[in-house]
């Protein structure tokens, strides 16, 4: 075997095998079982603790379509959880780029619920069970201003309704009425909420972050500044499982389906690392 050749393998070979590892499981899907991490369970518990009569769940999003595969299932799973518990859900977008995506998520999850609803009480109604506050730049402004008045900083919702005319907004005024803010992000917006909203107004904050940010947030979960989090696609899949186990809400479990490709890609990278090291040591012994 020519170890030297293996060591200096063309990057394009790696790229190609990687592409195959991702595509094949998508074409021939399998479903894998997994364990649930503590931080995910904590977030689930924190949402369980919201008092539906008095408080709401605020989902703050600042992801763009680029991290859709990771962040989108998180937003949907949270909405499902909120709807299943009849907790009013407020959603905002910190950046305009992601705003249309949230609209799509709301439509999809509302559609799932309402397709099975039998009465008006049973359905998810816009303005009563969910409000999409839309987008106000720059992000720091709404984060601070929601401590005073949510309708003040979001006078109109995403669809152009006056927010103060919506049923649920009459009792949800500011962070005092927010059970937990879950910031879904590819960046560090949960920390902005911790630094600017929690320090000043004491609101609970949770995170739904891409896997890349997760290591950064563990310290905050340990100190309790973050009540819990969904870390990456796996976190989203776990949350989907938790909601599904408890409430049987149905709907597509996007994150769970993607886990097969994930596994293949991870295993491939590990195989590459092993190959690289075997070749490296074989070369070293030779020289």
């Amino acid at each position: 075997m020519n170890w030297e050749r293996l060591l200096k393998i063309d990057r394009r070979v790696i790229f190609l095998t990687m592409a195959l590892a991702i595509i094949l499981p998508l074409l021939f899907p399998i479903r894998l079982t997994m364990g649930v991490q503590r931080v995910t369970r904590n977030l689930f518990q924190a949402v369980e603790a919201i008092d539906p009569a008095r408080q709401c769940l605020l989902i703050s999003t600042d992801y763009t379509p680029q991290t859709e595969p990771e962040n989108h299932p998180m937003a949907k799973a949270l909405m499902r959880h909120g709807f299943a518990r009849r907790v009013p859900v407020l959603v905002n977008a910190l950046y305009v780029e992601g705003a249309p995506l949230i609209d799509q998520a709301i439509t999809e999850v509302m559609g799932d619920f309402n397709a099975r609803a039998t009465s008006r009480e049973d359905s998810i109604l816009y303005g009563r069970d969910i409000v999409y506050l839309g987008w106000q730049p720059p992000p720091i402004v709404p984060i601070l201003a929601m401590g005073e008045s949510i309708t003040g900083i979001y006078p109109d919702d995403y669809y152009g309704n006056r927010t103060d005319s919506l049923e649920v907004m009459r009792r949800i005024r500011n962070y005092a009425d927010v059970g937990i803010v879950v910031a879904i992000t590819p960046l560090s917006s949960p920390l902005w909420y911790v630094q600017f909203a929690q320090t000043k107004y004491g609101v609970k904050v949770g995170a739904g972050c891409t896997a890349v940010c997760a290591p950064d947030f563990y310290p905050y979960c340990a100190t309790g500044q973050l009540s819990g989090m969904m870390a990456g696609m796996k976190g989203a899949a776990e949350y989907e499982e938790l909601v599904e186990q408890k409430y049987r809400t149905g709907g597509r479990l996007k994150a769970t389906e993607g886990m097969a490709s994930q596994s293949a890609a991870h295993v491939l990278i590990m195989v590459f690392v092993i190959l690289g090291n075997v070749a490296y040591f074989a070369m070293r012994r030779k020289s």
Partner: protein, 407 residues
């Protein structure tokens, strides 16, 4: 001598404790009113109800006072919980005396924050709600007025530590000003800067300096601007072309001034090429796409990636590595550091990026600031150890000295 100052700082926690206690007890102008002093007094107004609900034990010790450390507009109401209560209703009365419900709290809570107008006197009472709709109203509190505070007493510790740090750094700067030699150890990534610029000169290829993809709000960008000044001086001396693509237009305006200033300072204003600093695009991925293009087409011999980087860090670093360039990276975005460590030749981790401009310029005053950073680290370490030992021995939580509002 040097340690004397640090020792002084170590006594700070005691100061914090005193300050925090002061704020809580007498420091803030608090208007507290305790109900129950005259428990016999009948509530002045009752909400009109068709049939009076069955009685239920009333919450004791209800108080209302201005919410401390805020911008006004809030009164904090507290009470002692009633066993068996399902929830609480909070009622408010203005000058006219009629109580109206303003909010509710769950059985687990014993505090409520009411949003009110500043300067107006309000009285409150807390009604405990029983499982079968019984009600028990606490006596009315004395009137409380909300008002804005000028200083947020919760942050006394933060304010003091800012002041303390300013003093320490100022002290080191003064020492530096007096001409004392301050020792700074070798930092590999920064030692390599000369070699990296020199290599570009030898190969006749440009140096690429990416000041991050953050905005000027990210302090790492400001630090990067400072390093850019030093590196541009070197490229001016060596006569090597430098390319500075920018993602944020405000950063672009700064980096242009910095590079032009550096060429002037190096005595080569004529060598400054106004096209060397340019704006590309705000979208960070479009920026990455364009910079990848620059890397494979202009083939810079040296890439500096210093500043605030986000997800695009590895795209830039891997493409840079594939072109064979020497790469010196640095960021304070901790999640991106592993990628730089893996894909670049040298990586400045967090604080090293902030130290870089001092290290490169060797200006005594800047080195003084660097020494201040070291003193801060010693202080942190000492506090951690002292706090741990104290807590383990006494069983108290020394960490509460570090608590700010919200926790």
């Amino acid at each position: 001598m040097r340690w004397a100052c640090i020792l002084c700082l170590l006594t700070l926690p005691a100061g914090w404790a005193a300050a925090q206690e002061g704020a809580a007890v007498g420091g803030a102008p608090v208007e507290t009113a305790v109900a129950g002093a005259d428990a016999g007094e009948a509530p002045l107004g009752q909400p009109a109800e068709p049939a009076p609900p069955a009685p239920f034990p009333a919450p004791a010790g209800a108080t209302a006072r201005d919410k401390p450390n805020d911008g006004g507009g809030a009164i904090a109401i507290r009470w002692q919980p009633v066993p068996g209560a399902m929830a609480y209703r909070i009622e408010r009365a203005g000058e006219d005396g009629a109580f109206v419900p303003v909010g509710a709290a769950s059985a687990l809570e014993n505090a409520y924050e009411d949003r009110v107008e500043d300067g107006v006197a309000y009285r409150y009472r807390v009604v405990a709600l029983g499982p079968a709709g019984e009600e028990g109203a606490s006596p009315a509190t004395l009137p409380a007025r909300s008002r804005p505070q000028w200083f947020n007493g919760d942050l006394t510790g933060v304010a003091l530590s800012v002041v303390a740090f300013i003093l320490v750094v100022a002290w080191f700067i003064r020492r530096a000003r007096r001409g004392e030699q301050l020792f700074v150890r070798r930092i590999a990534g920064l030692e390599a800067v000369d070699e990296a610029v020199g290599r570009a000169t030898e190969m006749g290829r440009p140096v690429l300096y990416i000041p991050g993809t953050g905005r000027i709000e990210d302090i790492a960008t400001v630090a990067s601007m400072n390093v850019l000044g030093e590196i541009a001086k070197k490229t001016a001396e060596f006569g090597t072309p430098i390319l500075v693509p920018n993602r944020d237009p405000v950063v672009f305006t700064v980096s242009r001034e910095v590079v032009k200033g550096a060429y002037t300072a190096a005595g080569r204003p004529d060598a400054y090429d106004p096209n060397s600093v340019f704006f590309l695009v705000e979208n960070s991925l479009a920026f990455a796409a364009a910079v990848d293009g620059i890397m494979v087409r202009e083939r810079p011999a040296t890439n500096f990636l210093l500043g605030s980087f986000f997800a695009e860090s590895l795209i830039l670093a891997e493409v840079g590595a594939s072109t064979g360039a020497i790469q010196i990276a640095g960021t304070d975005q901790v999640p991106q550091l592993p990628f730089f460590v893996v894909a670049c030749d040298y990586t400045l981790m967090g604080e090293e990026l902030y130290a870089a401009s001092a290290y490169l310029s060797r200006e005594p005053l800047m080195l003084g600031a660097l020494k201040g950073q070291d003193a801060g680290k010693l202080l942190f370490m000492a506090l951690l150890v002292a706090g741990t030992i104290f807590s383990l021995i006494t069983g108290l939580d020394a960490g509460w000295l570090l608590s700010t509002s919200g926790y």
